[in-house]
């Protein structure tokens, strides 16, 4: 491990020891009893230990003065797969970057299961359906390439009139880009033989086009294209393996020319080299897509269409058809905060920035004239603060006629605090009706419903105190001050955190979350899982903690976060082992 990384660790850790007690990772509240155990010690992989790492494991001893926290840096980077299959999006983007053609890979392929909570898991497989889909897509791409004269000329980079010289150039250049490393002499020979055989195996196109087609078909089915293979023995990655990690993990596609050039010159060995390339990759439009996609999945925006069926008498304007607009609102907000304003986690949870159209402006109570599209507005800062006060979230965690503190509280505990809460048992009685007489408010209803001891251990200890903070927002997320004539009581505490900060509104709840070390740790952990495509293990806590410790700085943007993640040993190295 480089001295540089430790200095960086020391720098970002300054003054944050207290927060590290919760280990910056997901916490498990055993049976909702409030006992917090670091999840990393429960999952696969060894617990943090002071024992020296095995020789050759890639870890280094850490200076004594850095203290107990640094023990985790002495753990070897965990053994994870050495052959990570491309996700369908990575495949689609790679195809686009290699050929200049946009082919509907994601629409055509069967979706993959989610791993570690996101659709970017590194442990995906190739079964017979996908093998056939890969074959068909490779044939389709090759056919489309030779039919598109501009794309064809660009990809070739030489004139077919040169014959074999051009064939060799084409194989060397496209082969290197597709397989993300230079072809060996043996590979070059085999692909040239295949190229020549193409002339006999098609009934259309000239011989050169036939050669190109069959070569592209083979390259796109090569395991070196389909898997990010990391075969360098030991813990270090080769420059080409590092280039692939940088490109796929940060911007979801194949390395660009500059990255390959850096790998050619072995300029990806040091932490600074990697950080420099990460910053370069993240300076373009692809970073916006990464930040959008992460927040889309983290905030589970895909549930909106299924959760917006409302009482048509009371809420005629809120239907599942509004879902795409509400998803766009969240994505525009995240983009504006992260890139236009260059702010970070705190602003995501506190900024009263809205994107509304004529339908949602009415729900937000924003005056003015609006059309069908979204328009940026400032919202009332006494009523709205960031992600948790947006109507998409509030309305999709609510009933058709009323709010749902339980659904909102569970979401915050699970997604934003990474507290594991078990699902409710079977045969829970129905919520008693809010009848306006014996039960006047949703808060009373939920209190009464969850009063039995078996419920209270989760609900009173964790779920309700948080969910009640959003009681100022009704079934569609509109602001309210009373329910059935009773003033709203939105007081609560940030249960499931060490500080347990008290609040009396959704705005204060959001602020308390932004300030909570546990929420920062959870946000950092979620990013880790998204980027690395796996659940963290004990040794990864260093990388996560270092990021969590910087989230109190609102100028720490997602791009800066990603760059730091790229610096970490979890990103730049691997275990010598393979599962």
């Amino acid at each position: 491990m480089s001295k540089n990384y430790l200095e960086w660790q020391g720098r970002v850790l300054h003054g944050t020891r207290a927060g590290l007690a919760v280990l910056a990772s997901c916490a498990w509240l055993a049976g909702c009893s409030g006992e917090i155990v670091a999840a990393s010690s429960m999952r696969a992989g060894p617990p943090p230990s002071a024992e020296p790492p095995a020789a050759g494991s890639g870890a280094a001893n850490t200076p004594e003065e850095l203290g107990a926290y640094e023990r985790c840096t002495a753990l070897p980077v965990p053994a994870v797969t050495r052959i990570a299959r491309l996700t369908h999006r990575q495949y689609q983007n790679s195809l686009r970057d290699l050929t200049g053609l946009d082919l509907p890979v994601i629409a055509e392929f069967l979706p993959d299961p989610h791993q570690a909570g996101f659709d970017r898991g590194i442990d995906l497989q190739v079964g017979d359906v996908l093998a056939a889909d890969y074959r068909d897509m490779a044939e389709r791409a090759a056919s489309a390439l030779v039919s598109d004269s501009a794309a064809y000329a660009r990809v070739l980079g030489c004139s077919p009139d040169q014959g074999d010289a051009c064939a060799k150039t084409f194989i060397a250049s496209v082969g290197k880009r597709a397989l993300r490393q230079p072809l060996t002499a043996a590979e070059q020979t085999r692909y040239l033989e295949l190229f020549h055989s193409g002339a006999e195996l098609f009934d259309s196109g000239d011989d050169f086009q036939r050669g190109v087609r069959i070569t592209v078909e083979a390259l796109l089915q090569s395991p070196k294209f389909l898997y990010r293979a990391e075969l360098t023995p030991g813990a270090a990655l080769s420059p080409y393996e590092t280039a692939a990690r940088l490109s796929y993990l940060l911007v979801n596609s194949t390395p660009d020319a500059a990255l390959m050039a850096a790998a050619d010159m072995a300029q990806l060995a040091s932490e600074d080299d990697v950080a420099q390339q990460a910053a370069r990759l993240l300076s373009g439009a692809a970073a916006r897509e990464t930040v959008r996609d992460f927040h889309h999945q983290w905030l589970d925006l895909d549930v909106f269409p299924n959760k917006l069926t409302k009482d048509p008498q009371r809420y005629p304007n809120v239907t599942p058809a509004l879902a795409p607009l509400l998803q766009q609102e969240v994505e525009r907000f995240v983009d504006a905060i992260s890139f236009d304003r260059k702010r970070g986690f705190v602003s995501l949870l506190t900024a009263p920035l809205g994107f509304v159209n004529k339908t949602t402006a009415a729900i937000y109570g924003v005056r003015g004239t609006f059309g069908d599209g979204l328009q940026q507005v400032e919202l009332d800062p006494s009523q709205r603060a960031g992600l948790l006060t947006q109507i998409g979230f509030l309305a999709s965690r609510a009933y058709s006629q009323g709010s749902s503190p339980i659904h909102r509280g569970v979401f915050i505990q699970r997604r934003m605090l990474c507290n594991m809460i078990p699902d409710p048992p079977a045969n829970v009685p129905a919520l008693p009706p809010v009848d306006g007489t014996t039960i006047k408010t949703t808060r009373q209803q939920v209190d009464q419903h969850t009063a039995p001891a078996a419920c209270a251990s989760c609900h009173h200890a964790l779920i309700n105190p948080v969910g009640f903070g959003l009681e100022n927002y009704d079934a569609v997320g509109a602001y309210r001050t009373s329910e059935n004539g009773v003033a709203i009581d939105a007081t609560g505490t940030l249960a499931g955190t060490a500080a347990g900060t008290a609040f009396s509104s959704g705005v204060e709840l959001s602020r308390a979350l932004a300030d909570a070390p546990e929420a920062r740790a959870c946000y950092a952990t979620s990013w880790f899982r998204y980027v690395l495509g796996r659940v963290e293990q004990a040794a990864d806590v260093c990388a996560i903690s270092a990021i969590a410790a910087r989230l109190d700085d609102d100028s720490y943007t997602p791009v800066a976060l990603l760059t730091d993640l790229a610096r970490s040993p979890s990103f730049r190295a691997r275990s010598g082992e393979s599962p």
């Binding site: 053994a79 797969t81 050495r82 052959i83 629409a107 055509e108 069967l110 979706p111 299961p113 989610h114 659709d119 442990d123 497989q125 190739v126 079964g127 017979d128 359906v129 093998a131 056939a132 889909d133 074959r135 068909d136 490779a138 044939e139 389709r140 056919s143 085999r190 295949l194 195996l201 098609f202 009934d203 259309s204 069959i214 078909e217 083979a218 089915q221 090569s222 395991p223 070196k224 898997y227 293979a229 075969l231 023995p233 299924n306 009933y399 749902s404 339980i406 594991m420 078990p422 699902d423 409710p424 048992p425 079977a426 045969n427 829970v428 009685p429 129905a430 919520l431 393979s578 599962p579």
Partner: protein, 493 residues
């Protein structure tokens, strides 16, 4: 030949010129007409049934059409002599009241029902082992290729999204689009692989020769990668699966173009093919398409089994804790079936979260009964389709073990005891058909815990001839410690 957009594939060309490649592609793969293979078909429903009215009305023993009249199974009455209705099977290891931990019971059951493996963890609940269909397919499909996994309706992207697993934590995602599923195994491809030599003089078409050249190279690269000394067992297993998949591509490729002339029974009609190809891929998961897509997937499933394109197929109807609104079963706009989805009705409630009845009892129980009968009608549709294909030993149905399963028994109580299981078809004489059988020793099928579901999985696997690596029959399917070894002998002839 240029690639063709999906919608225009048939419409744009039309006629016999296009129909012919279909027929060739669908020709039976087996060479010997006297050896009909055994197959396995799983028909999987969710949210339980109306237990009060589901089961046969006559005592254990012979099952007749009369046993089924007036029950949830009434649509199957004409098949009574080919059914085996089993009582008392429960999940391994848990049943209602025996599981101290809270949690979404649908999620726990879905990951477990076809795997008999514990949930991997208490959060995602993916199964910790492979499912029956994948284990059996690896053994009885000639190329070792995976089963045909299909699903009707909305699919969640979590554990509820599939009953099938290729291995621990590796959920197999099912096809939902019938056209996509059909294309995947029928040899229909939008690619140019069907081109033939201009002189027509070669038996193997150009596409097949080209694919062979390409796949030879791919295979040698995969072999080289697999032999890399730095890879561990799990990574090697991943590449083994990839290699098996490539070999199965090669097998289907060799048949393509040199297959014997097709029989008429082994193809969809041109009209039906056109209907399926015209489905809007973005609409396949909608409730409004549930009946239509369900029927198409049954066609695809039956055809794949009958034409020996795959010997194992599963069809999952919706997700537990959800399911469609069966509006077509509602007599009026006020009917609860017109208003509430299957899961809500299974709890007699107007909300997915509330789990004790709030609707009038007769209404939701009747609605569930009607839903049960609708699913049984669909199950009959599968049996009809399989029975329509004649082959040695009778029909395809006679050579297949068809099994109806459900993630729950009583949906209201999320009960994992006394799960509904109906075997049909018999797997070439393996099962004792025309029987209503109790598998628990005592009489309390809803409470006795001596008939764990893993034994049913063991029985089904052996019924269709699946073998362990050493060639011996399976002895104890799944990895749950509370499962039991052996088969249910009461089910066997």
């Amino acid at each position: 030949m240029m690639s063709l957009p999906r919608r225009r594939f048939l419409r744009g060309l039309g006629g016999i010129a296009v129909a012919l490649p279909f027929l060739e592609a669908l020709a039976p793969r087996r060479a010997r007409a006297d050896a009909a293979p055994k197959r396995l078909a799983v028909f999987f429903c969710c949210n339980g049934v109306n237990m009060e009215r589901f089961w046969p009305s006559t005592p254990y023993g012979a099952l007749t059409a009369d046993s089924l009249m007036g029950t949830g199974m009434e649509p199957l009455a004409s098949y009574a002599s080919k059914l085996l209705v089993a009582r008392g099977i429960h999940l391994v290891p848990r049943g209602w009241g025996r599981d101290p931990a809270g949690g979404d019971d649908h999620a726990k059951a879905i990951g477990h029902r076809l795997t008999a493996a514990a949930n991997q963890n208490s959060q995602e609940r993916y199964a910790s082992g492979p499912s029956l269909d994948h284990v059996v397919a690896a053994s009885i499909n000639p190329s070792g290729k995976g089963p045909l996994n299909l699903m009707v309706g909305y699919r969640a992207t979590d554990v509820l999204g599939s009953i099938s697993y290729t291995g621990a934590g590796q959920q197999a995602v099912p096809f939902q689009d019938p056209w996509k599923a059909f294309k995947a195994w029928s040899g229909v491809s939008a690619s140019s692989a069907g081109a033939t030599a201009a002189d027509g003089g070669t038996l193997m078409d150009l596409g097949a020769r080209r694919r062979r050249s390409v796949l030879d190279l791919v295979k040698s690269d995969l072999d080289a990668l697999r032999n890399s000394s730095v890879l561990g067992q799990a990574d090697k297993a991943k590449l083994d699966m990839h290699l098996t998949s490539i070999r199965s591509l090669e097998t289907s490729m060799v048949s393509s173009g040199v297959a014997p002339a097709a029989t008429a029974s082994c193809a969809l009609s041109e009209a039906r093919t056109r209907e399926i190809s015209a489905i809007d891929p973005n609409a396949v998961t909608r409730d409004s398409e549930y009946q239509t897509i369900g029927g198409m997937l049954l066609d695809v499933m039956a055809l794949a089994l009958a034409c020996d394109q795959n010997r194992v197929a599963t069809l999952q109807w919706g997700s537990g804790a959800g399911g469609p609104i069966f509006s077509w079963l509602g007599a009026s706009a006020d009917d609860v079936n017109t208003k509430y989805n299957h899961h809500k009705l299974s709890h007699g409630a107007t909300s997915d979260a509330a789990t004790s009845p709030t609707l009038p009892t007769d209404q939701w129980k009747t609605a569930l009964f009607n839903i049960d009968q609708w699913y049984m009608q669909s199950f009959k549709g599968l049996l009809d389709r399989l029975a329509a294909y004649s082959e040695p030993g009778g029909s395809v149905l006679d050579n297949t073990a068809v099994c109806y399963m459900n993630d729950l028994g009583d949906g209201l109580g999320h009960n994992w005891m006394d799960l509904p299981n109906i075997i049909a078809g018999g797997a070439a004489g393996y099962f004792k058909l025309g029987q209503y059988v109790k598998l628990t020793q005592g009489n309390q099928t809803a409470n006795d815990t001596d008939a764990p579901s893993n034994m049913l999985l063991t029985t089904l696997a052996n019924a269709v001839g699946a073998k362990q690596k050493d060639g011996s029959p399976l002895t104890n399917f799944g990895s749950a410690p509370t499962g039991k070894p052996g088969e249910f002998s009461e089910l066997k002839k």
